[in-house]
Symmetry: C2
Subunit: 119 residues, 2 copies
């Protein structure tokens, strides 16, 4: 029997925070860009409805993973960026990605074929 | 801008595989015990309906995270143990747990207070 450090209360919380079809792709873009405008995010995520994307972003803002910033120009411009709390998820997200690529390669390929994700 | 290794196809797959209210606690017990009998698992997980627990286990078996073994005694005994693929999730699950305990302490405490998880 191997000892393993994870328990399950924290794991439950982390998985709840990450649940949502478009959260991985949102996080991906926010990890790779300093900030991103809402209209740009909507354009680069394939097939997502505006309402659904807004709902996902609202949940992520509520969980303090991302920061929303409204610039007072006309018409108003809304930008999102990753927070410190969100950025701290990096090692866990990397480990999940590595696991999938090493152990669930077929499922990853199937998802790519459906064009639900590109990288 | 920090470079980060995770992409999002694999992340999507990993989060899909882990989605389910009782999966963290099931994984926790299977990581800590060589094997566990279905009836014992049902007893130690608070409030879960038998049907729901069976459904979760079936999904995890389908994703090859766990191995189901039926012993031919009478009445039959069903045991579960973690697979190699499941065990390989250890570093990612540990990283998620650490993140939650460091960055979402209040949510973890709230969940513990609801007695939806114990450790």
């Amino acid at each position: 029997m191997n000892y393993i450090q994870f328990k399950h209360c924290g794991l439950n919380v982390a998985l709840d925070v990450l649940s949502g079809k478009w959260k991985p792709i949102i996080l991906y873009h926010l990890f790779h860009q300093e900030e991103i405008r809402f209209t740009e995010l909507w354009r680069i995520i394939p097939k997502v409805a505006k309402k659904v994307l807004l709902e996902h972003l609202k949940q992520m803002e509520m969980h303090e993973l991302i920061i929303r910033e409204e610039r007072s120009v006309f018409p108003p411009e809304v930008y999102y960026k990753i927070s410190e709390k969100g950025r701290a998820l990096g090692p866990a997200l990397t480990a999940l990605e590595l696991w999938a690529n090493e152990h669930a390669e077929e499922e990853v390929k199937a998802l790519q074929a459906k064009r639900r994700c590109s990288v």
